[in-house]
């Protein structure tokens, strides 16, 4: 049984998804202020790391990293609604790319498992 990452399509799938996903996030006025940055290419690269992790791929994230990285955003008011909005964009990105439902469910599980760390709870 191959890994989730391989079943979804590996790095090629991440590359296909990241552009669509980050565009949805940036276009969403309820959350895009958390993503404002002077360096869009760097932000795009961060989203790619996030998707790689959510797809079950090789990554270097630890729970502590997630906490530290998101702490400044929590201080600016990042809450569960924002988290759910981002997760929603991830889900609709995968649906757009016609990823099988059971694989989408696995990805959403991984993404959901980061919630407490992201929100520093």
């Amino acid at each position: 049984m191959s890994s989730l990452f391989d079943q979804i399509g590996g790095e090629a799938a991440v590359n296909a998804a990241v552009d669509i996903f980050y565009r949805k996030v940036l276009a969403d006025d309820s959350i895009n202020h958390f993503f404002e940055t002077t360096d869009m290419a760097a932000q795009h690269a961060k989203q790619k790391s996030f998707l790689t992790m959510a797809f079950g791929g090789p990554n270097n994230y630890s729970g502590d990293d997630m906490r530290t990285a998101h702490a400044p955003l929590v201080a600016k008011g990042l809450n569960e609604d924002h988290f759910n909005a981002v997760a929603g964009h991830l889900q609709s990105t995968l649906q757009e790319l016609k990823v099988a439902d059971e694989l989408i469910a696995e990805v959403m599980n991984i993404a959901g498992s980061t919630k407490d760390d992201v929100l520093n709870r």
């Binding site: 940036l26 002077t38 869009m40």
Partner: protein, 326 residues
């Protein structure tokens, strides 16, 4: 706190402080310009110690191997011994062949090196004056057709090198150059891909390079050029671009006059709006954005939202040192 040894001077580097900031804070005269990891002006060589990966990620492999790194991007974790780059390793001498005023503020320089430089039109090079002042300029020439390097130099208010180049750098004088640098060049795999190019002021220089390269490579897709400038006179290639658009069916040229407001601000709104309202669905396009940083960054986001893939957006924000003065 790590200590930086610059020549014989020891400098304490504060937590989260870059090597460049530490040197500047200690009033050490190190070269720099953009402070954003783009221009490579602040490159130093590390003779001893560990170089953080992010300080080398934008450098060519041979420079990495030699221990070069960008001091503005280098937040050291441990002590480092650093020195100015060896000029003989990095720089070659170029002679000024021709100097022509293209507008009241823009001067065209054509330089020649003893051995031809390998580059893509639209990349940039760094010019270093004898006293060590370094600035970046984009290449408007095309290596396959021109035997010279063409630069468009705009006089910057209070600009150290730009005014000197315009007023005191004469034909047959020599200057050291280094490069080429940057990924702002023609790279379409499909010659039918539509291309949008937006430049403010001398942001036109790399764009001209890209357009000429595209035509040289028989690009058949639409090529739309938008040039924004302060007034009619500063649209310094207006006639040539109109002629080009008349001759080549797939080229469109649009000029944007920004008026009395600082063009940085006006272009961010006006230039973007025009380019975007003419081309609202940009899915599958290739986009080049050069010049005023606020315009470049704003348009970068807007063309991305309009459907351009991130890897198809090439930007060259002309970061100027004066903007970063503390």
């Amino acid at each position: 706190m790590p200590t930086i040894y610059f020549n014989d001077q020891a400098v304490e580097c504060a937590e989260n402080e870059s090597v460049l900031d530490a040197l500047i804070r200690h009033k050490i005269d190190a070269p720099y310009s953009c402070q954003a990891g783009i221009c490579q002006t602040c490159m130093l060589r590390c003779s001893e110690g560990e170089i953080p990966a992010e300080a080398q990620s934008e450098l060519k492999p041979n420079l990495r191997t030699l221990g070069y790194f960008l001091s503005c991007q280098c937040k050291p974790q441990s002590d480092m011994h650093v020195e100015l780059p060896d000029s003989k390793q990095l720089y070659v001498s170029a002679r000024l062949l021709e100097k022509t005023a293209l507008s009241p503020t823009v001067t065209r320089l054509r330089l020649q090196t003893a051995t031809p430089m390998y580059y893509h039109a639209g990349q940039f090079i760094n010019l270093k004056r004898e006293d060590g002042v370094i600035r970046s300029y984009s290449l408007a020439s095309l290596p396959s057709e021109d035997s010279f390097l063409e630069l468009h130099v705009k006089r910057m208010p209070g600009g150290d090198l730009s005014n000197w180049l315009a007023d005191h750098f004469e034909v047959n004088d020599n200057i050291d150059i280094e490069g080429p640098v940057g990924d702002c060049f023609y790279s379409c795999e499909n010659t039918e891909q539509p291309i949008l190019l937006v430049g403010s002021s001398t942001g036109l220089a790399p764009l001209i390079g890209v357009v000429r390269d595209a035509l040289h490579k028989q690009h058949t897709g639409p090529i739309k050029i938008y040039h924004g400038a302060f007034n009619q006179q500063e649209l310094y290639l207006h006639q040539q671009l109109n002629e080009l658009a008349a001759q080549v069916p797939n080229i469109e040229y649009h000029s944007i006059i920004t008026g009395e407001m600082p063009e940085e601000i006006v272009l961010k709104g006006k230039g973007c709006d025009q380019a975007l309202s003419d081309n609202s669905d940009l899915k599958g396009w290739k986009v080049y954005l050069c010049g005023a940083p606020a315009m470049v960054k704003s348009l970068q986001q807007r063309v991305y939202l309009a459907g351009v893939a991130m890897q198809d957006i090439h930007t060259d924000p002309f970061e100027t040192r004066d903007m970063h003065k503390v």
